[in-house]
């Protein structure tokens, strides 16, 4: 095998730009899709296809929004009640109301995002929102106000492929992050280290590139970066000068009266900062544990481009290594990739978001409720005896609108998948029907004949050449088996 390289992929007769590679691009850089979408990217050529995904501003975004007016009003009422005193009973009633609204609105935001993932015409942008949510983590229940998570989700969307350093600065002032890592109560004299530690360890540099003392000093620099309520029941970033420690600090070998923005400037002067995001992006898009020389080269690009993410993405998605056999069909799908990719490939409508969301929850990925500040697992860690059965039973949800562990009221939102159009009318034999379904759900996968036999059998045939009638029930039972295959867990 050739040395993995970031050189631009140049198709050749031996190694053409083909449907398998176009599908690979659509699944990794986007959220997957039906064969027609793969064909569209194929026709654009590799450069054109990467451009098409990256320059998503040319397409209109979805416009649905979540309305928080009721919750804001409840917060505003709570401030008023606190000022005026009010009875114990009134305070308790209001608190119960706020708790209920928070739960309802959180679910609404989660559904809103799932529906977006299923329906977006800008899959690369939405894929990056998911990436940022997994890297710059905030979540419920530490963040109780769901509007904060909604605002953060929009920040990730606005800056999806923008400047990383700018994003770090903005996320340091973001209401959800200020709450999740407690910087909103980081005060002069008694600093709270939570944000400073994770900023260095998980967001920008990684363990080994700072000391415990650097964390303490950075925490002092972020004192006074907090939130304040507005009269309308919203919250905004507020620099509280009286709580800010403006004394001299020593951070990563530099000395000065630093504040949070200075700390971020110094972080981005470190060689480790140029390597951190490229490595994480490579692992998300290509494969785990990239070779050092690839990370070095990406770090050079990243620094040269002043920490802009889009050129980094372009380099990755156009590279030889991205289309190499080592990269293709080797990544374990995250639950959201699996659920959303299936919905997009089979044209499941976004109205099915409630059961889709819960299915992903059951597989171990609860959107906006990450397990901890480290974010989601990756690679094989997604797969256990528990989650593999949930993943396989997801096939029943798609084909029969049932799944163990999902309450019946959620199942009302989904119908057995519409099979008209999944198999071309020209497909007459078991082999042809199965080929069409594999092409849709497992593009580029190699399935040996012995195992394909299982799929022919589900159509009532024993050989590829046997003529079959692809009734909706038979096609659904094939889809269910196909989704109960190890191969379907990979992309």
């Amino acid at each position: 095998m050739a040395e993995p390289s970031l050189r631009a992929f140049r198709p050749s007769a031996a190694n053409p730009w083909d449907a398998a590679k176009a599908a690979h691009l659509l699944q990794r850089a986007g959220l997957g899709g039906p064969p027609e979408e793969v064909q569209r990217l194929l026709a654009l050529g590799v450069e054109g296809a990467v451009d098409e995904l990256l320059n998503y501003e040319r397409l209109p975004d979805l416009s649905e929004a979540v309305d928080f007016s009721e919750l804001r009003q409840a917060y505003a009422d709570a401030f008023a009640l606190r000022r005026s005193g009010g009875s114990e009973q009134a305070r308790r009633d209001l608190q119960n109301r706020i708790n209920r609204l928070q739960r309802e609105k959180l679910q609404e935001v989660r559904l809103w995002w799932m529906a977006r993932l299923v329906a977006t015409p800008r899959p690369l942008q939405e894929k990056m929102v998911l990436f940022w949510h997994g890297l710059l983590v905030s979540g419920f229940p530490d963040v109780q106000n769901p509007e904060f998570l909604y605002i953060q989700n929009h920040l990730f969307r606005r800056r999806a492929t923008g400047n990383f350093k700018q994003l770090i600065l903005e996320v340091s002032r973001d209401p959800a992050m200020l709450t999740y890592l407690d910087n909103n109560s980081n005060r002069k004299g008694k600093p709270n280290e939570n944000y400073a530690r994770e900023l260095l360890e998980l967001f920008t540099l990684g363990v080994g590139h700072y000391t415990e003392q650097d964390i303490k000093e950075a925490a002092r620099a972020f004192t006074g970066w907090t939130l304040r309520p507005t009269p309308t029941g919203e919250f905004e970033f507020f620099f509280n000068a009286t709580q800010h420690d403006d004394g001299p600090k020593t951070f990563l070998g530099r000395r000065g009266t630093f504040d949070g923005a200075d700390i971020i400037d110094i972080i981005f002067e470190q060689p480790a900062a140029a390597r951190w995001l490229p490595r994480r992006l490579f692992e998300d898009l290509v494969y785990l544990q990239p070779e050092d020389h690839l990370v070095d080269e990406l770090a050079r690009i990243f620094r040269r481009e002043n920490f802009e993410v889009r050129p980094l993405l372009r380099a990755l998605l156009s590279s030889e290594v991205f289309y190499s056999s080592r990269a293709r069909r080797s990544q374990v799908k995250s639950p959201v990739q699996l659920v959303v990719g299936t919905a997009r490939a089979l044209r499941i409508p976004p109205a099915a978001a409630p059961p889709l969301l819960l299915a992903a929850d059951r597989m171990g990925q609860m959107l906006l409720v990450p397990p901890n500040v480290g974010g989601w697992p990756k690679g094989r860690s997604w797969i256990t005896t528990a989650t593999i059965l949930e993943r396989y039973n997801f096939g029943s949800l798609i084909t029969e609108a049932r799944m163990p562990g999902l309450p019946p009221r959620l199942l009302e939102a989904i119908r057995p998948v519409e099979v008209a159009g999944l198999v071309p009318s020209t497909a007459r034999t078991a082999g042809e029907v199965i080929a069409a379904l594999l092409d849709r759900l497992l593009p580029g996968a190699v399935i040996d004949q012995k195992r394909q036999f299982a799929l022919w059998r589900a159509l009532g045939a024993n050989r590829a050449a046997d003529p079959v009638e692809a009734t909706p029930q038979r096609v659904r039972s094939v889809l269910h088996l196909l989704m109960s295959m190890p191969e379907y867990q990979l992309t």
């Binding site: 980081n186 709270n192 280290e193 363990v207 500040v373 797969i383 049932r402 040996d448 799929l455 190890p486």
Partner: protein, 423 residues
């Protein structure tokens, strides 16, 4: 008493193996044989000197539990100086000795302590402590503070050391979707499950028939000669899928036998320990169960949150032990509750505490010597504001491995560690 398989099961599963034919890989044949051959099981169980009836239940308190507010040095002024708003007043502490007591939320554990069923190991940690959640959790789970590359967990390495029933995937059971690093073994044994109801594969309702669909499912999931160029992840997925379906029936059958009437608190840990108790009652061939709590990362507004967490722990553990006593299993089960680190001695300005180091570790069982072990580290002789550990956590593991599980700790932990005399 553990029961063997019924003849019906044996014939059914035995035939399954035959149907897989010569291509069935060795792990599967091994697993299936171990699952199906009651005589094999009897053989390993009668090995002399092996405490084969004993079970370990690990409770992971994720986030870094505030040890100082769990087991409280209430006679030490330094504690009150360091914790002006968070210290528990001496009058509220549940006293164990003249100097040390439990947080008031641990009332249920205090009862068990008085009855000799709780051991508190004080000042547990390791050299050069990491204050990163992820690094420190990895260290506790691999028992490898030196950062050698250890891919498997301390419990997984115990499975690999050929314990009784180690050939069975259900030798380790995690309650929850993931399999903790602690339980990962090179032999690939150990399962995760969320609820028994969802721990099963369902064939289509209107396919070609459930029986044949199961056969096709096996054909698609049986590990076998890989097609050329197939990533080895495929083999891992097939292995996991087959372990899942082989364990699924066993787990659901075991749980179905449970007739307990003990009421558990309505909490995540309560539900997890209840499920574990059901599996123990059903004689699942399991040596180690693993349950999770999260939320101990109390950087802000710690008082109420920590109070609730400790209550969840104590009440769930008390119900669990009551249940085990009713089953007659209380002296077969040892519980071990740990966290990746304790918290800073001095509170911060948010009514919380930042990441720290050494902390107490709790063990509970009818089969241990209850009491306080080790010493509370000094609150004034600190390293970077944090406690200096007195007992290495691997000493606790070594004691459990040797005296509870009958394994060789030096082989599993890579070095001999002093034992802690709680058993």
């Amino acid at each position: 008493m553990r029961q063997g398989m019924t003849r019906r099961e044996f014939v059914k599963k035995g035939l399954t193996i035959v149907a897989m034919g010569a291509t069935a890989p060795s792990f599967l044949a091994r697993t299936a044989l171990a699952l199906n051959n009651p005589w094999d099981l009897a053989q390993v169980q009668s090995r002399p000197g092996v405490p084969d009836e004993r079970i370990l239940v690990v409770i992971q308190m994720g986030g870094g539990n505030d040890g100082l507010n769990t087991v409280i040095p209430f006679s030490d002024d330094a504690y009150y100086r360091a914790r002006p708003t968070l210290a528990v007043p001496a009058k509220d502490v549940l006293r164990l000795t003249d100097t040390t007591g439990f947080h008031p939320s641990l009332a249920a554990l205090r009862d068990l302590y008085d009855r000799g069923a709780v051991a508190v190991i004080q000042g547990v940690g390791y050299p050069n402590p990491s204050r990163s959640h992820f690094r420190s959790m990895e260290i506790w789970q691999t028992a490898d503070p030196e950062g050698r590359v250890v891919r498997y967990g301390w419990i997984g390495r115990y499975f690999d050391s050929k314990c009784p029933v180690c050939e069975q995937p259900t030798v380790g059971v995690n309650v929850g979707p993931s399999l903790p690093l602690a339980m990962q073994a090179s032999s690939g044994q150990g399962i995760a499950l969320q609820t028994p109801q969802t721990f099963q594969w369902m064939p289509s309702l209107r396919g070609i028939g459930a029986q044949e669909e199961w056969d096709l499912f096996r054909l698609l999931n049986t590990p076998g000669p890989s097609a050329s160029g197939e990533p080895d992840t495929i083999d891992f997925l097939r292995h996991t899928a087959m372990n899942a379906v082989l364990s699924s029936e066993r787990v659901r059958e075991a749980v179905g036998k449970y007739r307990g009437g003990v009421e558990y608190p309505n909490s995540r840990l309560g539900a997890s320990l209840k499920l574990i108790s059901q599996m123990i009652a059903g004689n699942l061939p399991t040596k180690v169960y693993y349950a999770h709590m999260t939320g101990f990362d109390t950087h802000a507004a710690q008082r109420g949150a920590h109070q609730a967490l400790l209550r969840e722990l104590a009440d769930a553990v008390a119900a669990f032990l009551r249940d085990l006593e009713e089953q007659g299993n209380a002296s077969r089960v040892l519980g071990l509750a740990f966290s990746e680190f304790g918290r800073r001695v001095a509170e911060n300005g948010s009514g919380g505490t930042d990441h720290g180091t050494a902390a107490p570790l709790l063990l509970f069982s009818r089969g241990l010597k209850g009491g306080l072990y080790g010493q509370q580290p000094s609150l004034t002789d600190l390293a970077d504001g944090d406690l200096k550990h007195a007992i290495d956590f691997r000493s606790v593991y070594a004691t459990v491995l040797e005296r509870w599980l009958g394994a060789d700790p030096a082989a599993i932990l890579g070095a001999p560690f002093e034992r802690v005399p709680f058993m």
